[in-house]
């Protein structure tokens, strides 16, 4: 074909142009070497409960994380007990958690340790709300990165009323209250 021998066929010219445009757009996007993941900032979180319902996974990839270092180990735990609970034992009727995912364990008088059973936690944030309102805020919602399927557009982020979700480099996946920003990288 004589057309194939031409140094610049019309189609070849267009093709080079298209490749340049695609490459140019990609270059303009300033690619970064690392991966990004979704992060939930507990300082912004309002515990609205949507993390439990909006995630594409069921149960949600958002779960409660307990930052023991800032916990008061209270007997009367506002994250564990219903407001106005008649007793402080492990009775289901006293518990705030709808799925009994918080285990209460006596450590020493008068301290109790609260542990989240992640296999049960649905990320509803009820305990987090109680702890944030009346306690130290040691119970916090976080995205469990081993559960998260890393959707390109996080369904919870779209629904979050507090704008607490953001795309961050993978090293900054977790950010917990009590950590100053420079210590966020864990």
């Amino acid at each position: 074909m004589s057309e194939g021998k031409k140094p610049f066929s019309r189609r070849g010219f267009l093709r080079a142009g298209a490749a340049l445009v695609a490459g140019g757009i990609a270059w303009q996007a300033r690619p970064v070497s690392g991966q990004t993941v979704w992060q939930l900032d507990p300082a912004k979180c309002l515990q609205c409960g949507r993390c439990a319902t909006e995630c594409v996974l069921s149960p949600s990839a958002v779960k409660c994380v307990h930052n023991y270092q800032i916990c008061g180990y209270c007997d009367l735990c506002s994250g564990y007990l219903q407001p106005g609970a008649k007793g402080r034992d492990t009775g289901a009727e006293h518990q705030l958690c709808p799925v009994a995912a918080i285990q209460r364990k006596f450590i020493e008088d008068p301290f109790f340790q609260y542990t989240i059973d992640e296999s049960l936690c649905i990320g509803c944030g009820k305990c987090v709300k109680g702890c944030t309102l009346f306690g130290n805020g040691s119970l916090q919602l976080q995205i469990k990165q081993d559960v998260c399927v890393h959707c390109n557009e996080c369904a919870i982020a779209m629904a979050c009323p507090a704008d607490a979700f953001s795309r961050v480099p993978v090293e900054e996946a977790y950010v917990l209250k009590s950590q100053p920003p420079q210590e966020r990288k864990k």
Partner: protein
């Protein structure tokens, strides 16, 4: 002692953090029983597969190009389709895919605060580069969204050329809306309304399952409805495929005008030879062409008008606009009660006036954007009409470079195929 030391360290860190987190209501306990703090469970993300994805994408694209162009093997393409569906769909759960990556790349290009990983950029660029050389081999056997539809297309009916032309305007509108969504910060619409990703994850909202299920059901009779009449990335691949260096061809050698390929193609991507008798005289054709060209500014102006008029509605894609409208209703007392979103807004230290101003700015952006989108769609419509009215000189049955998905379905039907020695 160590525990106490840690507590002091934590407290010091808290003071160092300043008043950002506030002071703690309850003091940290001083344990006497040698209690050790349990480790916090913050498992890392496993992203090793993401790098493998790029290598596998390249491998699959090469394999697809070889199977379509060199090997001309429909069973091979079909097998690769199944593997792609299993790997990119069910194993990798459909994210990130090249279809959605358009938005990430655009977001990164438009907003300096957005970081786009290399993996995502390569997912955007590679299928386009392959389309520039080999046609839409990505659509043929690598895209998981295409694969799931390819497998259900068992009883496809033929759509007429004008119907296909009319419906294939929708992807341009979808692409334009997605661009508008990214530019205004309204989110990634393509991902939000991805119909099949719910199947891949075995979990989605009811609406997603409903739309996905209906599309698959429709896909039994109308081949690949999402790819042909919705997919925004398909627009870009179609452009690239149109000027591709090589392309899946039917027939491989001399056409015997048997029309078997035409009836074998479920996607209406086989173009027919120029009829012996022209359907209209040359003068008639020229007159219509002149009319269409004269009509172009009117159609484009109409597009701009419709775009600008529909911009208040479109701007509701942005959460801030929706919130502002709801807050306004509540402030005026037109609705009873509050929503989670308006409660959250009132918990912040912002006045409704600030919110309204912000929403107003976004609506202004939408007015511009929707106007441009309308003009773009006007151009697309005119281009489609021109393409429909043109009668190109063609002797044989050929693949339509833009619409052909390189699925190789027609190859086994071509009687000349055996002579090719494939």
């Amino acid at each position: 002692m160590t525990a106490r030391g840690r507590i002091v360290a934590v407290l010091a860190a808290c003071f160092a953090a300043g008043a950002a987190w506030g002071e703690f209501r309850f003091p940290m306990p001083e344990f006497e029983s040698g209690y050790k703090y349990p480790e916090m469970h913050t498992p890392a993300a496993d992203l090793t597969w993401a790098v493998a994805d790029v290598a596998i994408l390249v491998g699959f694209l090469c394999l697809a190009a070889w199977l379509v162009l060199k090997r001309r093997s429909r069973p091979g393409v079909l097998a690769l389709t199944v593997v792609s569906l299993l790997y990119f769909g069910f194993w990798r759960k459909g994210c990130v895919c090249p279809v959605g990556s358009v938005q990430n790349v655009l977001d990164g290009a438009l907003h300096s605060s957005v970081a786009v990983p290399w993996v995502v950029v390569l997912f955007f660029v590679l299928p386009i580069l392959f389309a520039l050389f080999f046609g839409r081999v990505f659509c043929a056997a690598v895209c998981p969204l295409g694969a799931i539809q390819e497998l259900v297309a068992v009883k496809p009916v033929q759509l007429s050329r004008p119907v296909i032309a009319a419906l294939s305007v929708i992807p341009y509108a979808y692409l334009g809306l997605a661009v508008l969504g990214v530019a205004t910060g309204s989110g990634y619409l393509i991902c939000e309304y991805d119909p099949f990703v719910g199947f891949f994850r075995f979990g989605a909202s009811f609406n997603m399952f409903l739309v996905g299920g209906l599309l698959l059901l429709l896909g039994v009779f109308v081949g690949r409805p999402y790819c042909r009449f919705l997919c925004p990335y398909g627009v870009l691949l179609g452009w690239a495929s149109r000027i591709s260096k090589w392309h899946a061809s039917i027939p491989p050698t001399k056409c015997i005008q048997c029309r078997l390929c035409e009836s074998a193609c479920p996607y209406g991507a086989i173009v027919t030879p120029t009829p012996e008798e022209r359907p209209e005289s040359r003068a008639q054709g020229a007159r219509r062409l002149a009319w269409l060209i004269a009509l172009a500014p009117v159609v484009i102006a109409l597009g701009v008008g419709v775009g600008v008029l529909s911009s208040p509605m479109l701007s509701r894609l942005h959460a801030t606009v929706r919130l502002a409208e709801r807050v306004a209703l509540e402030e005026r007392g037109d609705v009873q009660g509050t929503t989670i979103d308006t409660d959250a807004f009132r918990a912040q230290k912002r006045t409704p006036a600030e919110l309204y101003a912000e929403a107003h700015d976004i609506q202004g952006e939408y007015k511009w954007g929707a106007g441009l989108l309308g003009a773009f769609l006007g151009i697309v419509v005119i281009a489609k009409l021109l393409a429909l009215s043109a009668v190109p000189a063609r002797k044989d049955y050929e693949t339509h470079r833009t619409h052909c998905l390189s699925c190789a379905r027609c190859f086994p039907y071509c009687p000349v195929e055996g002579d090719h020695g494939a």
